[in-house]
Subunit: 452 residues, 2 copies
Amino acid sequence: MNKSFAHKKAVVVGAGLVGSLWTVFLARHGYDVEVYERRSDMRTAGYSGGRSINLAMSERGWKAVEKAGIREKIEKVAIPMPGRMMHSVSGDLTFQPYGKAGEAIYSVSRGGLNLELLNIAGTYPNVRFFFDHRCADVDLENPRITFEDLKTNTLKTVEAPLIFAADGAFSAVRYAIQKTDRFNYTQFYLDHGYKELCIPPNPDGSHRLDPSALHIWPRGNFMLIALPNADGSFTCTLFLPFEGEISFEKLTDNASVDAFFRTYFSDAMAHMPTLSDDFWGNPTSSLITVKCAPWQWQNRILLIGDAAHAIVPFYGQGMNAGFEDCTILDALHDELEGDWSRIIPQFAQQRKADGDAIAELAQRNFIEMRDLVADPKFLLRKKIAAHLHERHPDFLPVYTMVTFSNTPYHVALREDDAQNHLFKQILNLENIENEWMGEGVDEVYQRWKKEG
Amino acid sequence: MNKSFAHKKAVVVGAGLVGSLWTVFLARHGYDVEVYERRSDMRTAGYSGGRSINLAMSERGWKAVEKAGIREKIEKVAIPMPGRMMHSVSGDLTFQPYGKAGEAIYSVSRGGLNLELLNIAGTYPNVRFFFDHRCADVDLENPRITFEDLKTNTLKTVEAPLIFAADGAFSAVRYAIQKTDRFNYTQFYLDHGYKELCIPPNPDGSHRLDPSALHIWPRGNFMLIALPNADGSFTCTLFLPFEGEISFEKLTDNASVDAFFRTYFSDAMAHMPTLSDDFWGNPTSSLITVKCAPWQWQNRILLIGDAAHAIVPFYGQGMNAGFEDCTILDALHDELEGDWSRIIPQFAQQRKADGDAIAELAQRNFIEMRDLVADPKFLLRKKIAAHLHERHPDFLPVYTMVTFSNTPYHVALREDDAQNHLFKQILNLENIENEWMGEGVDEVYQRWKKEG
């Protein structure tokens, strides 16, 4: 703990994943932290699911929770998924490892992780939580912020020399800053929505599908995925266009839902006894990408996590990116000796390119997951990439860079562009289907490497 | 007037250029129109300038004011500008016609035009104005909207089965819709700001520069422009980066402003006796582009003008685009017999591509104006384009399409892409500087035409 900053005050807006993790970091540095959260305290009120996509914790997330001192606790409930299991329409399975032996992403429940972070944050005497408090007004001229206590319907204005806005994709703090001059802002929705569904455990508590994989049913313009939970169940998510030939708007009754699943996901459906209840009980949610700049206001308000860079979930990096914000901010705090007038603009400026890059990579991965994973050319490319990585250890597949390293996202995006160029040449080689380990591939690689 | 719609009510938010013109159209169709405007009534309070860029009225604008019955009135104060007059650093002048003989854009004062439109709208007994009324809340669930009377500080909620939001780039109505699910939205600021300056008339009331041109001092990354006014003055606008080597932030005192103008705009400066007062008296304003979709809410609220598609001013199309919204809406009203449940979604859907296209064209024209107009290759391209147009009347320069025709903007943008491709080939021809009227050009053109 840096003693000189003890008794300095920080306000954190939002006690979701990023807000509560960042609170732990601030608490460890000795700040008096006030955390305001619109929802009720899930430590007493419980966690309400129904519209969550399970989290896939990878290197950047682990690094952050380790720094926060809770890695071991999370590890106990995290389920390793060393690869994707792809389900064809006829039920054939293809397993595709995500990385090398020993590398895996980890299925973690959003509620469980959030709860753990709140519990840890709550152990610090210098942290105070205010649940059921909605951010009502951000004073941009003075260091003050106003919340509405939703239980008493009263307004409360507090001093806030330092505000961290971790209030998510629909950040109230960001909406306030949005109206200031020269603030660039984009919110973009996919034409696809998603719905949470469920594969419950077997009667004996075991998993109905192989739990050591992220299951995907890629169907071109739509897909189903399933991530294992510790209780033997899988959380499934259906991604489907809102409108069109095959879409949510066409699924209007049990008969159409039944026919849709029977046609496209029959092997999954066999494990979904509560399909109808889940389908009608859970909402159809939209998928937003948010980009903005600058991420800060006058060196005293900083947007972090989804408030700064909400992305689509297809790279499994939303939470990981938000947690990495905390790691990077923490390192800057040490480097700049707690001088927020330098930390905040430097973080906002330096990290922005990474937020934009992971947003782009996540959108590209949607195409890959729903579409290309079932494409023989794509599978061939994956095989060649793994092979090149074996032969040339400095050739890192982009998925590996994003998932199993801490390489800045903007470097990974640049590499993705470069590798797309490389594989376009490789896949054009004659007889590449059979010669994919041949000298021709290596020659193209060496040339590409030199050009790089 | 379509009698069956008499006594139907419409609310117009904003009495700027587009709001007041659209009010005239609605009034002519017999609607009871309530117009709410945040500012005071400029018919009594006057018009406050200082941050306006003069308007360049062209075909789309004329078509709309003609339909509204005020073409003649506007023509009396509009000054034709048949071309651009470019001023080099050393004071050399180059005149470049905008179109063919007889074609011109027209310099019009924003305040004067707005006043005229309000006067016309005010002659209809079925129009009621409410000035000093700020839009405070838009009820998205019910056909109601709430305004704050800024003179009494009281709130007033009115029935609004049909709302036209013409409340500009920072539309309050749009901010309300922005938070609804699946609303795509982008606000983007240029790194350049602008400042209004002035060239007053000669003592005898005459213009100090040739009034039959839009004057440009293109200087690469920045520029000065001047548009003539009927009173003998010119309204000038300086476009300059906010930050950087040569920027507003570097102009901190009279000495630096003086040195800057002396270096880059010495011939203009000779005509700017009030430069210092204007520079410090007028604000430095930013330049925003807004794109969003859908432009409507539940077939009863429609965004028009800048509220739907704010663009940068470099094509002189902001007002023209907003006025064209009115013309198109009016035509749809006739075609769909006043059925707003069909007019609104159809307009929003069909017109969106044009809003996006003119936004893109306006940004491209910024590059052209500040930079390329001083580039010999660009001047050559313009010459060849004019020559091709002479020789092949169906070859329309994009500027002509946008400015002197009513071709949909999205068609003009597609043509701009295609012509950029054409001229890339033409300008690569050997000895093109001398052979620009030669057979080689025609051959490339014919080939390009066939491919098209």
